[in-house]
């Protein structure tokens, strides 16, 4: 038993860590979906931009400045994307906004190609969380251990924000009924902006954790984690925050278990097969019916 544990602990640790990073991205998807009924395809690219911003800022500034500045710039970017590409289409058919989102995603990707010249950039080392730590017999980066705890702490904060503040109440109202909320005097544009700000903030934190672990930043690196986070959001029941988090952890751990048993080639296929199965047999996901959690 001890031997089994020693051999498989690294897989489990890796799975939990990856799951935590997926979770932070998945929340962004699920919140925007809950309010706008929009799948924000550009979310994965905002995550990548945060990585590049950090690479460039840290080259000239100390970490104490570059870290908060990265988060700030990412949040502003998320806000601007909403302002420029989604708000003008507020009353357009939903499909138009979806197409606009795909457009933003490609625009960001190609801008990154242009700015970076397409080469992988090495993410800066952040002291403490980049350090190595030994748990039982497995050696891993500190960030692997921190990620799940930080993720859970942020989620608890978020749930309290939505459940216990005025803006949270407004969010819940908007997600229940867009039109009525507007009639009742809720400033929809403001609520939606706040949603994007929160989503981008979490993407920025997720990006810092992710790239500390996997240090190469390329323009398309956000595509895969973005897609998997989206699957996690659907799996957990799109619109539900706890659902997205649990879905993300399940996918992260399951992927690593599949790799552990030797089916490495199929680990991605598994994630997307899961998406199809969930959509066919349980379109509302694990927690989709629990409407009271909807943002």
């Amino acid at each position: 038993m001890g031997e089994f544990f020693r051999l498989n602990l690294p897989y489990l640790l890796g799975g939990i860590s990856v799951g935590g990073q997926y979770a932070l991205i998945a929340i962004g998807y699920t919140m925007v979906y809950g309010i706008l009924r929009l799948i924000n395809f550009a979310h994965g690219d905002i995550f990548t931009v945060a990585g590049f911003v950090m690479v460039y800022l840290s080259a000239t500034m100390p970490l104490t400045v570059s870290l908060p500045l990265t988060v700030l710039i990412t949040v502003v970017l998320g806000y601007l994307v909403e302002r420029a590409a989604y708000r003008p289409l507020r009353d357009a058919p939903r499909m138009s906004i979806m197409i606009s989102a795909i457009g933003v995603s490609y625009l960001l990707q190609n801008l990154m190609w242009y700015v970076t010249g397409g080469l992988a950039k090495q993410y800066p080392t952040i002291p403490f969380i980049s350090g190595s730590v030994t748990i039982f017999s497995a050696t891993t980066k500190m960030v692997t251990v921190i990620t799940p705890f930080l993720t859970l702490a942020l989620v608890v904060l978020l749930v309290r924000l939505i459940g216990g503040t005025k803006i949270g109440m407004a969010m819940r109202a908007v997600s229940k009924d867009f039109e009525t909320a507007r009639l009742m005097g809720i400033k929809i544009d403001r609520v939606i902006s706040v949603t994007f700000v929160i989503g981008s903030f979490l993407a920025a934190v997720g990006s810092i954790l992710y790239f500390t672990n996997y240090t190469a930043v390329t323009p398309t690196v956000g595509a895969m984690p973005g897609l998997k986070a989206f699957v996690a959001a659907v799996f957990g029941g799109i619109g539900s925050i706890p659902g997205a988090v649990i879905g993300a952890f399940i996918i992260g751990i399951a992927e690593n278990i599949i790799k552990a048993v030797g089916l490495t080639t199929f680990s991605d296929a598994f994630t997307f097969a899961l998406l199809i199965i969930v959509l066919v047999f349980r379109p509302t996901g694990l927690f989709g019916e629990a409407v009271n959690d909807k943002v």
Partner: protein, 393 residues
Amino acid sequence: MKKFLAALMILTLVLPLVSLGEPATAGTIVIGIYEPASGDNGAGGKQETLGIRYAHSLQPTVELSDGVYEIKLVEVDNQSSTDKAPSAAQQLVSEGASIVLGSYGSSVSIAAADIFDAAGLVAIGVSCTNPQVTLGNPLYYRICFLDPFQGTVLASYAKDAFGVKKAYTLAQLGNDYDVGLVNYFTKAAEAAGLEVLGETFPEGTSDFTAYLTKAQNEGAEVIFSPTSTTYAAQIITQAAANGLSIPILAGDTWDSSVILNAAKGTDIKVNVTTFFDEGDTSEKAVAFVKGFKEWVNSSPEYLAANGGNDIIAAVTALGFDAYMTALEALKAADSGDREDIAEVMPSVTYEGVTGAIAFDENGDALRDQAFIKASDNAAENWTFVKVQGIESN
């Protein structure tokens, strides 16, 4: 106003003609550079292109019997991607290239071979080591060694240097270079009595901890992972973070400052086979090393393309030799005509900085030895280990 504008436009059209004055050369010959400048292999492609550009800066003209021709380099970016590659290759054909150099990365070379072939255009592969590049493509030549050779050399070295019994191989799924080289390594290693466990990862993977854990749990004593440098950096940093102590072997792709950068300050031992060693003492190599370092330090743009330092990658030396070989071909054909070049190509030879270059009936360079280098993680440099042939000793 309109008249003034019209006059201005005519002037802009005519001026370039005037400023040329009498032509100093008999004409221009276009050499196409078919290399990735972005994507997974972008870093290596840029270093290879630097070698070609440096060679061009030394010899920007070629003397044929009817006068001196200016050489114009046309660069296209195949983006390391087999679906973008054909259009990049087509662009070189329509730009009127007389001969093409490249590419770094065998997959994109294979993807472009048919297009060059249809246009009757000779291509000289610089560092594409997969046999499929020249096999069945009569107009594709190459100046580097091949993967069956490289894989065998690496297997012999794994056995000789580390005395290992079990090896773990890691390749990117669907990448001709990775999968091919791993295949030849596995064959040679198994023939030499080693046990080999192989795994593949899908494109876009960034989490390699599961693979590395597997290698460790299965008791592998050496990891062979000839992946592109983007993945290589991830593999090295994660191996270091997970406290892995198994040496990593790789092919020519890993002879890059990206690898040194990733391995810096870690305990990971990296060994690579390659085409050229900076410490080579032959006269040509010494002159090349000195000249190239001066040239690359002369411009921040070159320095950035070389990865921010002046360490010479083997592919840069090969790029240099490829350009010089192309000049030899032009001289032998005594024209920039594609058909003439195709005719003389099989008999072209050149004494390059990476050794003598001559082609066999497939269009492959005749080479029988490879350099083995190890990473020095403190000095962030390569140290030369030995010259290894196929024979295990």
